[in-house]
Symmetry: C2
Subunit: 305 residues, 2 copies
C-alpha cells in the first residue's frame, strides 16, 4: 500500500515551551523515514511517536540555527548505542560538517556506522537526493542565515494497464511491465497498439514541501506549485508583521497567500512563536485567505498520499 | 529561611526513554540555582519544573559523555534569547571549552552575556568554586573518561548567641556580630567572657554529594563522609554486575555500600539503565544494605537542609 505520512515531532520556534518542541518532522514513505530538521529533544519525540530508528537513513537540515539542529549529536549517539551499522546521510549546507564532525569525533569515537554529510548550496534549487522512492530538491528560502526548504517528490508511478486490453490483444505476461512503463505493444501480426490505448495514466506523484524558516518570498511559488501538502512557517500573526520582517519570518496570512498563489492542496502551519498561548488566531488568519489550512502540533500524523 | 532543594531534571542513562530524561539536576540554595550536568532536553525540563533561568549562574559538568552535556548549547542559546546579561560559569574539564566554544561562536554570535569556562582537573579533589553561599569541591570518580563528582558544602553558619547572656553581661548591639563569629566578649571591667559561654554552636553546614558516572570506588568515601544527601549512580542491578564493571558503572547495591561506609544521612539513586521497566528492583537491592534510600525521578524536588 502506498503511504506518505508526515509526523510532527516539534513545531515551536526558537524558544522551547512546555507546549511545543523544537523543529523536527519525519516523512514516512512506505516505511522509509526521512527526517527534516533536528532540534533539541528530537530523539525523545522520535521515541514517543514510536518511530523506528533503524528505518531512518536521511536527515535534512534546513539551516544552522540551534532550534533546527541541536538534537543531531544526541540522535547520532543514540543510533550508535543501538548498534546501527547502515550509513546515515545528513544533507545540509557545508558548515554543518565543520561544526558537527568534531563533536562526533569527540563524543562518538566508536560509532559503528558512517555519517555522510551531503553538502548543498541552499541558495540554489537543485536535486540533492534521489533514491527508488523519492527525489528531494532544495527550495531557496529568505532567512537571516543561508536556508533551504525541501521538496519531496515521489518517483513517477507506472501507468495502470487496462485488463480488458490484455485479454483483447492476448498480451503475454512478459510484456506487462514494459507496457506499464510506457512501451507500445506490437501484435504477432506486426500491428502497433499505442500505449495510451492500453493504459490509464498513473496518479500524479505525491509532493510535499517544507518551507521553514523564511520571510515572505514569492520566489518559492514556482517550486511548490500544486504540491499535495505545504508546511510553511507561521511564526507570527499579522499583528506582529514588523517583528516578522525584522527576524525574516512569516505571518500566518503570508503563509496562506503563498499557499494560495502556488495552488497547493493543503497548508499546514508551524514554527509558532511562544507568544501566542492560543494559535487559533494564526489558524483563522490563514483560513481567511486559504481555507484548507491546519495547525501543526506535536505527535500529529498526517496521511496525505 | 534556609533552603536546600534538589531538583531532578533527568535521571536516565545513555539512552533516553519515554520514562527518563538524560542527566541533569539543579540545586536551589536559597534562590540561587546551581546546575549539575546538562543532558539533551535539560532546558525543556528546566521550564517544566518552573525554575527561573535568571537565577542560574553555574553549570557543573561531571564528564564529557553526550548524555551529560548535549543540552548545553541549547540552554545557552535560550538564555541569550531571553536577554540574559550576567556571566554564566561552566565548570568542567578542559576539553569542554574546546568542544563547546566553537559551537557557541557559530550559533550564538550575539550572545549578550559571557560564558566563562572554569576548567578543573577531574583527577583531583579540590575546591573549584566558592561564593558567599557554598564551596564546591570535585570528587575524582572512576569512569571510562575523566570524570568528577561534586561536593556542595554550605559555608559555615554563625553561632547562635544566647539571649540570656546578652542581658546578663549587658552586651552592646555593636558586639553581637563579632560574638556570633567566635570572638570573646570583654566586659567594661576587663573580664574576658569566653565565646563558648555566650553562644550555642551553629547547625553543621549542609552537604550534598553528586557521584555519577562511576564504577564502585571506595576512594570517594573520605570525600563524602557524613553528607546530608548522596546522589550515587545505580545504572544496574547486581544481577548485571558484569555489565556494570565493563562499562565502569555501579549497581544499586554498590551505591548503598558506599552510602553505608560513608555514613551519609540519605541516599538517592539515579542514572538508571533503560533495561529496568520497574526500578523497584534497584531500590530493594540498595535498601537491603542502606535503608534510607530513595529513587530519583523526573520533576522530583527534595528538601534536605
Amino acid at each position: 500500500m502506498e503511504r506518505w505520512e508526515l509526523n510532527i515531532l516539534g513545531c515551536g520556534s526558537a524558544l522551547p515551551t512546555t507546549k511545543h518542541f523544537l523543529s523536527s518532522q519525519v516523512i514516512n514513505l512506505r516505511g522509509k523515514l526521512y527526517m527534516i530538521d533536528c532540534g533539541e529533544g528530537t530523539q525523545l519525540q522520535f521515541r514517543v511517536m514510536k518511530l523506528q530508528f533503524q528505518r531512518l537513513s536521511h536527515i535534512f537540515l534546513s539551516h544552522l540555527h540551534g532550534d533546527h539542529c541541536f538534537g543531531l549529536p544526541g540522535l547520532i549517539s543514540t543510533l550508535g548505542l543501538m548498534g546501527r551499522t547502515a550509513d546515515l546521510y545528513v544533507h545540509a549546507q557545508p558548515d554543518a560538517e565543520k561544526i558537527f564532525r568534531p563533536m562526533l569525533d569527540y563524543f562518538c569515537k566508536e560509532l559503528p556506522f558512517k555519517v555522510i554529510f551531503n553538502s548543498f548550496n541552499p541558495a540554489k534549487h537543485q536535486l540533492i537526493w534521489e533514491d527508488r522512492s523519492v527525489n528531494v530538491y532544495t527550495i531557496p528560502l529568505k532567512h537571516r542565515v543561508p536556508t533551504a526548504g525541501f521538496l519531496f517528490e515521489e518517483k513517477p508511478k507506472q501507468s495502470h494497464i487496462i485488463r480488458e486490453m490484455i485479454d483483447f490483444y492476448h498480451i503475454p505476461v512478459s510484456q506487462i511491465n514494459n507496457i506499464k512503463s510506457g512501451v507500445d505493444f506490437v501484435t504477432p501480426e506486426g500491428e502497433v497498439i499505442p500505449n495510451q490505448r492500453l493504459t490509464k495514466p498513473a496518479e500524479p506523484p505525491c509532493r510535499y514541501a517544507y518551507c521553514s524558516d523564511t520571510a515572505y518570498s514569492e520566489k518559492i511559488i514556482p517550486y511548490i506549485e500544486g504540491v499535495d501538502l505545504l508546511y510553511h512557517e507561521a511564526t507570527f500573526s499579522n499583528e506582529d508583521l514588523a517583528r516578522a520582517k525584522e527576524t525574516f519570518h512569516s505571518s500566518a496570512e503570508q503563509a496562506a497567500r503563498i499557499a494560495q498563489a502556488a495552488h497547493v492542496k493543503k497548508l499546514i502551519l508551524g514554527h509558532f512563536s511562544a507568544r501566542y498561548p492560543d494559535e487559533t488566531i494564526l489558524l483563522k488568519e490563514a483560513q481567511a485567505v486559504f481555507p484548507n489550512t491546519i495547525l501543526a502540533n506535536e505527535r500529529m500524523k498526517i496521511d496525505f498520499s
